[in-house]
């Protein structure tokens, strides 16, 4: 999309530009920042809805599919925040690899419909209460957090080329070289462990 060569162009702007060019009759020049907002709210509600359906639906395949929708929404959020590399990696790693693993396991375990006896009402109420308390805590934190006056006055939201592959690569291979190499050892251990655990013994 040319954002590497044009560092002043934010991907959120690019997305809203694309939508603006597609529907020229719907919007005029003044509503371009609003398109970003509309997109943001749409993605947010879709993400929250899919999170709800992930937790509360009975059929496990529906759960996995709604989790995939959730991952795509969060990747859309990353794109709005101009974290391009992370959005691509998110889609590839999470919805491309992890969810496929989940689907394999669900199909192997042959879970059709949740035939579980529900947990007792007390546990359910306790779960909702604790989740609600967590939400309250988070909302309270973010309301009370004093964004200092300097941050609000020149709210430049960071450089526009913050999330490009080039910049992340510089930091990844510069400052974070050791964790990068260690994570390769981690993957080796995880692969060996997974194969060892799942090995069927030949009797």
């Amino acid at each position: 999309m040319g954002t590497a060569s044009d560092p002043d162009l934010d991907l959120g702007d690019v997305l809203s530009d694309a939508i603006f060019n597609k529907f020229p009759l719907l919007c005029n020049r003044a509503t371009k920042p609003m398109i970003t907002q509309i997109l943001f709210y749409f993605l947010t509600t879709l993400a929250i809805l899919s999170a709800f359906t992930t937790v509360f639906l009975k059929n496990p395949v529906y759960n996995v599919l709604s989790l995939i929708v959730n991952f795509f929404c969060i990747a859309g959020h990353y794109l709005l925040l101009n974290a391009q590399f992370l959005a691509a990696v998110h889609i590839i790693v999470y919805s491309g690899a992890i969810m496929v693993l989940f689907l394999y396991v669900i199909m192997m375990l042959n879970l059709n419909y949740e035939t579980e006896v529900h947990k007792s009402v007390f546990v359910k109420v306790a779960a909702v209460v604790s989740g609600g308390l967590l939400l309250l805590t988070l909302v309270g934190i973010f309301k009370e957090a004093e964004i200092s006056a300097t941050l609000l006055s020149d709210f430049t939201l960071g450089a526009s080329d913050l999330g490009t592959v080039e910049n992340i690569g510089k930091v990844l291979f510069g400052e974070f070289l050791l964790p990068f190499e260690v994570s390769s050892i981690l993957f080796l251990a995880a692969m060996v462990g997974a194969v060892m655990i799942g090995k069927r013994e030949i009797k």
Binding site: H77, V89, K119, A126, S130, S183, G193, V195, G198
Partner: protein, 84 residues
Amino acid sequence: MGAIGVLFRRNAIIVFMCVELMLNSVNLLLVVFSKLHSDTNAQVFVLFIMAIAAAEVAVGLAILMMIYRNTGTSDIERLNKLKW
């Protein structure tokens, strides 16, 4: 949402997916803060979190498969003893 899901559901696989939800929420938060403070380190950290989540899912699902093969159930209410 992921925290509610972990406490609500009994099937081990769905609990696993709710843990993934929680990890995703942390990722989103980190990316937002990276943008706010103009810091690329947070995005690299998100990359590492994704990598670790992928490895953890692989190993966790392998364990779950073996448990299902050995006990025939994937219900965490019935798997509450350390040795069956």
